[in-house]
């Protein structure tokens, strides 16, 4: 059954974001956008999460943390890179300490650019992530490896 799509729980991690994108993530939880109507819950616990929502870029300090959170999430799981920083490094791309987007460390399934991303874009991106999540679940149910990137 496709319960997976109806109950996506997210974990949000702030890489080296400027906090712009994080404020927009929190805006999604407010009464105006209320993502809970899609069953989305911000869990704050990788072991409970289905979607890894990550903002900001990768640097030497956080690459272990990002990898660690990703590894702790049970399959099936998807990664949504929020904001141009998480997609490619954005305006910080050329900085001496920045290595680039999240795909430098973990497989990213959905790229949601924007600086900062708008709540509408975030919701849109998460809905796209649900499609990937469902695909991975179906593959897992068929006994295949969910890790294969779509």
């Amino acid at each position: 059954m496709a319960y997976m799509k109806r109950s996506p729980w997210i974990i949000h991690y702030d890489g080296s974001s400027c906090n712009g994108c994080d404020i927009e993530v929190l805006a999604c939880l407010t009464p105006l956008y209320d993502v809970e109507r899609f069953g989305i819950i911000n869990t704050g616990n990788p072991k409970h999460a289905d979607i890894f929502v990550v903002t900001g870029s990768v640097n030497e300090q956080n690459r272990q943390v990002i990898r660690n959170i990703y590894d702790q999430m049970p399959e099936p799981k998807v990664v949504a890179a929020l904001g141009i920083c998480a997609c490619s490094g954005g305006v910080f791309r050329e900085c001496y300490n920045v290595e680039g987007g999240m795909d430098q460390v973990i497989p990213v399934d959905v790229y949601i650019p924007g600086c900062p991303v708008r709540p509408e874009q975030i919701i849109d991106g998460v809905v796209r992530a649900l499609g990937v999540l469902e695909e991975k679940r179906a593959r897992m149910a068929a006994g295949e490896n969910a890790e294969v990137t779509a």
């Binding site: 059954m1 319960y3 997976m4 109806r6 109950s7 729980w9 009464p31 209320d34 809970e36 109507r37 899609f38 069953g39 819950i41 911000n42 869990t43 704050g44 616990n45 072991k47 409970h48 289905d50 702790q72 049970p74 399959e75 099936p76 679940r137 897992m140 149910a141």
Partner: protein, 284 residues
Amino acid sequence: MNVLYAIAFLVLAPLLGGLIAGIDRKLTARMQGRVGPPVLQPFYDVGKLLEKEHAIVAISQNFFVLAYLVFIAFSGAIFFAGGDLLLVVFALTLAHVLLVLGAFAATSPYSFIGAERELIQLMAYEPMVVLAAAGFYIATGSFSVSEIAAFPRPLIVLLPGIFVGLFYVLTMKLRKSPFDIATSHHAHQEIVKGVTTEFSGSTLGMVEVAHWYETVFLLGLFWLFFAWSPVIAVIAVAILYLAEIFIDNATARVKWGFALRSIWAVTLVLSALNLFALQFFGGL
């Protein structure tokens, strides 16, 4: 007949409990000015958890959580079969101790704090639950749930102190503010979620289902106060639950020390007064 009631509880309680949880979430969202999730959302959540990979931190935690679910269901089944109220109370306590052991099974600071908070919670409400059983006995002369339920006079009149004390504790049992110190329905990113930190997938699903069983059982316990008239009982229990949702949204979480002290003070004073009055006036 009694066995039938027990089986009916085992089958129907998760459905009813999940539905109550869904209505609870919807009403909570409306009180906060949000649209809120579908009413069936709790079922989707548990269905989803069953579809997830079974990641295990310590193998023993699965047994503890399974035993937690079994004992919660067992105590509810005994209750609805009209069994011994003391047995129900002790099975319920054992169930929560098993949950604490499950949280302690993984060496994680979060689940340790969560387990300790769950123990504090157990300490806070346990005296009241035992006193309630004693109150029912003094009022009706029996610990048997079926005899208490068949008592011809309204128990709410004989046991008002016990009722208020138990309602005070209900907030904590339903994991609602201001006493949601061990786990909460809302604070997903906070330390109060500690007890379930290391559970995932179907193990977490079992904790949810156990909570549904417990909700139905608790509402059944309050039913006893109004059991002389089923219509009034249904209305009263519904009002009690709505009041809990309102209290949950209108109050902030208190510190565990205050929760413990206030629960002990309120419940012990109220039930002691109630029990003394009952002894002296012989239930009139």
